[in-house]
Symmetry: C2
Subunit: 335 residues, 2 copies
């Protein structure tokens, strides 16, 4: 224990000098520095993190609060995001602190504790909402943060997102090009920004082509809810020939609804999703969808965070990654 002290006495130096040697200050003789570094490496010295935090006033910790909604948020891709983040943060000896809280009072309390106790130096906001109290809270408290996803605010903030609007414009345009005119959109709850952006992409594409843009239905981001919404649309005498869904899980429900109506997916009705979850390759027929590179997103989030911590602001406020379109049989494409 008391490692800095024992290192110092082993070397016949003061604690101060050892500390400065390791921190790379210029005020210690070059040979002394080398000697200290070698000794430190030999015993695998790493400064006690609590002491360091106390003295320096920051924690080298990043907090991420998962919104655990009642309807859950089971996203498998989230695990991968955590893995990429963890990796990237660890490279700079930062810790990732994970909290769980239901949106609402509980969530607010969690952020307030982070802020008040300065338990973390910065936050990552996921599942960003259109009107997001978390953003306001952190801006007011002057805690650095980066959002995964966008929000609607005047005040500048940092974010990383996929270009859902362009992605949905593109797929809708493609379907229009194939002759579809009645293209419906199954949207996720519109308090979530990604849902709004994807809907906007579909909407713009339809408007530009002078097609009816009233075929939007909102549902939860679950298979069950998607199935119900799709069934409603298909029951109409003037049913859509295409279902552009905000997420793969919704699309999987939609596929089921189409089949329950006695129609054939990919021929009578085409279906598309977003996320490229594993199951999307194993629906029958396989699901046309689009994909965001999680590794890019995770690394970009971490990099922006460090720019924020190092320089006070990132080189670029927001970064939007393009989506990769994945065409499969659910839109009649070759598998």
């Amino acid at each position: 224990m008391t490692s800095l002290r024992s290192l110092a006495s082993d070397l016949g130096l003061s604690i101060t000098t050892v500390s400065r040697a390791l921190d790379g200050y210029g005020d210690v003789a070059i040979e002394t520095r080398e000697r200290v570094k070698k000794a430190a490496a030999a015993i695998g010295y790493r400064p006690n993190s609590a002491a360091r935090r106390l003295r320096k006033g920051f924690s080298e910790t990043i907090a991420l609060v998962m919104p655990t909604e009642p309807g859950r948020f089971y996203e498998p891709v989230f695990v991968e995001l955590l893995a990429v983040l963890g990796e990237r943060l660890a490279a700079r000896h930062y810790d990732l602190m994970l909290l769980a809280a239901r949106p609402g009072a509980e969530e607010q309390a969690a952020y307030r504790r982070i802020i008040k106790d300065r338990r973390a130096d910065a936050c990552i906001i996921v599942r960003t909402r259109r009107h997001d109290e978390r953003v306001a809270l952190l801006q007011e408290a002057d805690i650095p943060f980066v959002c995964h996803g966008r929000t609607e605010t005047q005040v500048p903030y940092s974010f990383v997102d996929g270009d859902g609007e362009a992605g949905f414009r593109e797929i809708t345009n493609r379907l229009i090009g194939r002759g579809h005119t009645r293209i419906a959109h199954l949207a996720a709850p519109d308090r979530l920004t990604f849902a709004e952006l994807r809907a906007r992409g579909w909407h713009l594409s339809m408007r530009t082509a002078n097609l009816a843009d009233d075929l939007k239905r909102s549902c939860l981001a679950t298979e069950e809810s998607g199935e119900i919404a799709a069934a409603g649309l298909l029951a109409s005498s003037d049913r859509p020939t295409a279902l552009v869904c905000a997420t793969d899980r919704i699309a999987i429900g939609a596929v089921r609804a189409v089949q329950a109506s006695g129609l054939v997916v990919g021929r009578d009705v085409v279906v598309t999703g977003h996320d490229n979850i594993h199951a999307a390759r194993y629906t029958n027929p396989a699901l046309t969808t689009m994909e965001l590179d999680v590794r890019n997103v995770g690394e970009c989030l971490a990099d922006k965070l460090f720019e924020l911590l190092d320089a006070g602001e990132p080189k670029q406020r927001g970064t939007v990654f393009p989506l990769r379109q994945i065409l499969r049989a659910s839109t009649g494409e070759a598998t």
Copy 2:
């Protein structure tokens, strides 16, 4: 800042007395204690965590290292486990620290850092392996830990697991009862304990019924790998009539393989899985599977951890939860 000091001077008391009043020591007058507690609550006082950690020598933090294997470990259920854990730990003001590391040298280094720096008071091991260096490492370092899943060791350790063996015995027995005699098992990589236990359940059931127990094939826990393994079995002239799969993802691949052979799932060949992932309800036909209550597991993990931290050992070393069988059309049951 310097909150304890300012609280003390506001109240005209010493720092010592304020500290002891809040900690509930018996050595401060009851009315003083009340006065202090009221004042602390009023300003929302919470002790500086770095200072507390430094002084007390423990961190009120639990570490969880995700094994990020090359073939990934995308399990959606893991997100829910994290959420439950986070909730339960937060109730006792413990933080959850998340690390990511590839099994092997990187993983070892991560654990060594936790141990050496005492960054966390205890660990949670997930994806427990049959021969698990993590268990040995933590036992040697005398760091409390709880495993999600079991390992093969003489030394007693704490764990929480689902009863995969019983679950697979039960489903296999059920299929035997229905007249199946050629029942194959698609197993996950057998370095993972859960894979071994599920295989054992299938094996015991087959042996007890005097049926051929040579129809076991190993594959990765992915749809793709499951599909290949299943296709191999189905190509045989003496093909199995049942595919008992270690996971739903394997089972989803198996379903695809059956259909690719021109056979009908649920009639010609029945298929079963494990996990009850969302997609399992939306295969065609829906997948018979079994489910472990994640909330139970998460809460049990946290509780065991606290018993370990409080008392040095838990009331019960290991807890095994029963699995809930979910019968669907892939075994010809009513949906």
